[in-house]
């Protein structure tokens, strides 16, 4: 699994669109090395000083980019992601929301075949606090520190990151998994990574109803795969079964995917469970002091 640091050279696919342009600028402000943009048919232009190319291969030849962030609309996101992977970009961060699940299945399978790390789709992205971000999260919330964050949601992730920062802990690396039913990364892959990451002293896990990724993460922790302090918040206790709560993946189906099931599993594995978002920061502060 490949994440990011201050040396990562980023290409922004879809940089000429409103979102691509806006967030390319915010990423540069944060310190990300945004070296190129790609929009087919719009090569030889520039966006706020960032050169735009027709293809990812051309961007790589001219600017040496090695990771891609994708703001391409849903209908073109599979193509853009495959192009990035086949040009050797790693990681590939797919911000796009609303990609058909069939496309995501193909995207994720191809990434596995090529050994590419895919973050998302429907993700706020990832950030190495104080160094680089490939994502849409607000810059001011994050401060370099010792807490790793893994989240399925966007704004709730910023909410909890702000509490972590305000409690004087700061963040190491934070990754948004994405709110779709099928995404490139799961909690376990990141817990393995955080276990080895010397900068990460503790982890905040932000989950929500739907699927059983949190339960699987709990099994992994219980089996000794992750031994650093961990605090979790699970959104959706007040949700009703059978209704999609905003995210395509946030749905209780039958008796699976409830917040209680996830909280119980994580509690059983020794994690601290926040009753409200701020409790996560409090628990980690206590664990690290």
């Amino acid at each position: 699994m490949k994440l990011i640091n201050r040396d990562t050279k980023v290409v922004v696919q879809g940089i000429t669109g409103t979102q691509g342009k806006f967030h390319a600028a915010r990423m540069k402000e944060y310190g990300t090395r945004v070296v190129a943009g790609v929009t087919p048919g719009r090569g030889s232009q520039d966006v706020d000083g960032t050169p735009v190319y027709d293809t990812v291969i051309e961007a790589k030849e001219k600017q040496g980019c090695d990771a891609s962030i994708i703001f391409v609309p849903a209908g073109g996101a599979l193509d853009a992601s495959l192009e990035a992977m086949e040009a050797g970009m790693d990681p590939v961060v797919v911000i796009t929301e609303g990609i058909p699940i069939r496309d995501t299945i193909e995207l994720v399978a191809r990434a596995k075949q090529l050994g590419t790390t895919v973050v998302g789709p429907n993700t706020p992205g990832l950030i190495k606090a104080g160094e680089s971000k490939m994502g849409i999260m607000p810059n001011q919330v994050f401060k370099h520190g010792s807490v790793g964050i893994i989240s399925r949601s966007g704004t709730l992730f910023y909410e909890i990151a702000a509490h972590v920062t305000n409690h004087g802990l700061g963040e190491s690396t934070c990754v948004g998994l994405g709110g779709d039913p099928v995404v490139g990364l799961d909690y376990i892959e990141l817990l393995k990574w955080f276990q080895k990451d010397p900068e990460t002293k503790a982890v905040a896990l932000i989950g929500e109803i739907g699927g059983d990724a949190e339960e699987k993460a709990a099994d992994f922790i219980a089996s000794g795969g992750f031994t650093k302090p961990l605090a979790a918040y699970i959104a959706g206790r007040a949700a009703v079964p059978g209704k999609r709560m905003g995210h395509a993946g946030a749905i209780i189906q039958g008796s699976t995917g409830t917040a209680d099931s996830k909280m119980n599993a994580l509690r059983g594995a020794g994690a601290k469970i926040g009753e409200q978002p701020v409790d996560v920061a409090k628990a980690l502060k206590k664990a690290l002091s």
């Binding site: 806006f22 704004t155 909410e159 099928v182 007040a238 009703v240 409200q276």
Partner: protein, 380 residues
């Protein structure tokens, strides 16, 4: 998007999945004609987008066209889980030797399509999975290689079929997978697939299409809103038509947030402080004042709602835009219900200034705001 049985069967027919003779009827007369054309004993089935039709009396046999008329007359216009039956499917009655379950689902954990098959056809497959998981055969479809005939033959073998029957069942599975793949299904099922003396026939059909993929299936767009009848409440239908992400709940505190996770956490926090959310409304990313105003108006107009709690963490969504939307909606409706606002992030100061100018207080934390909303609803 959930297709009705007859709509799913129209798709199945295009893909060559074996079906009994059938016709849709809107009136008892049409049902009589259909039965006469089929010229065999038939079943009349209510076409509504909810489960439990049989138990509710929405599926009835008939032996003659005259009986078909009578039965259709009983079923058309009846209510099944609040839905009025407007169409029936008149279908050839099958002589059942055995019933099988076949399905294609998206397996989130394996990140692929998965074939499910069981010899316990006609049952609720989730119950079978819970009680007798050994009776379910699974096959994960390799996304880059697809499904091959030997894969489906192996599934059929594991269900206990050999020779020609194995091939027939395997062939139906291949076709069902093509339906799932080409129609962008989240789920498609034949339950039951009936084994008759003449071979296998799909007696029921289920096809749920991925809403994100509807742009590839223009033919379904016209039926999109209608397909949520029964699944969504009237208010939810109204919200869907306005393109708002809204779920109706039982409480008296209206909730609007931006982002699914934060909005869910807002409901949970209100619950933690003893309140009851009346709805979930996620503004999504980058909503403008107009859209926010519409959302606020929509929730405030709900008679059950006694207080509104707006929780916005500004990123792409700007706090000043949120404030403008709230003020606009309030102007339109008059000062009728208390509003609690918590905002943080992009253009926070501007947003707060606007709200304070309009006499609306703000809170800095979600926890504080939630408590306040709960107290206001109780006092109202």
């Amino acid at each position: 998007m959930k297709l009705l049985e007859y709509e799913a069967k129209e798709v199945f027919r295009r893909y060559g999945i074996p079906l009994g003779a059938s016709a849709v009827a809107l009136t008892p007369e049409e049902a009589r004609e259909a039965a006469a054309t089929i010229a065999k004993p038939i079943v009349v089935k209510a076409q509504v987008g909810v489960g439990g039709r049989g138990k509710a009396g929405g599926i009835k046999p008939a032996d003659t066209p005259a009986q078909a008329y009578d039965v259709a007359k009983q079923i058309l216009g009846m209510k099944i889980k609040d839905l009025i039956v407007r169409k029936v499917l008149v279908e050839e009655r099958l002589s059942i030797q055995h019933e099988v379950y076949l399905g294609v689902i998206v397996d989130r954990a394996s990140r692929c399509y998965t074939i499910l098959a069981s010899s316990e056809g006609g049952m609720n497959i989730e119950e079978v999975a819970a009680k007798t998981p050994e009776k379910i055969v699974r096959h994960n479809v390799d996304p880059l290689r697809g499904l091959r005939s030997y894969n489906t033959n192996n599934v059929a073998k594991r269900l206990g079929y050999n020779g020609k029957k194995m091939q027939q069942l395997g062939d139906i599975l291949l076709k069902l997978f093509r339906v799932a793949y080409e129609m962008d299904a989240e789920l498609t099922e034949i339950n039951p697939l009936v084994e008759t003396t003449e071979g296998f026939i799909a007696a029921d059909a289920r096809l749920n299409v991925d809403n994100n993929a509807l742009y590839r299936h223009k033919e379904l767009e016209a039926k999109y809103l209608e397909s949520f009848e029964g699944e969504l409440t009237p208010r939810e239908m109204e919200a869907r038509a306005m393109d708002l992400t809204y779920v109706e709940l039982n409480g008296d505190i209206g909730i609007i947030g931006n982002g699914a996770g934060l909005t869910m956490a807002t409901l949970d926090t209100v619950m933690l402080y003893g309140g009851h959310a009346g709805n979930f409304l996620d503004l999504g990313g980058g909503a403008n004042p107009d859209r926010i105003g519409k959302a606020v108006e929509f929730v405030l107009k709900d008679n059950r709602v006694k207080a509104l709690f707006v929780n916005v963490l500004g990123g792409i969504t700007r706090c000043d835009d949120t404030a403008k939307g709230i003020i606009e909606a309030r102007k339109k409706l008059g000062d009728n219900k208390p509003i609690v606002v918590r905002m943080m992030g992009t253009n926070e100061e501007d947003g707060k200034r606007l709200l304070h100018g309009a006499g609306i207080e703000t809170n800095d934390t979600m926890e504080e705001a939630a408590q306040k909303a709960v107290n206001l609803a109780k006092g109202a």
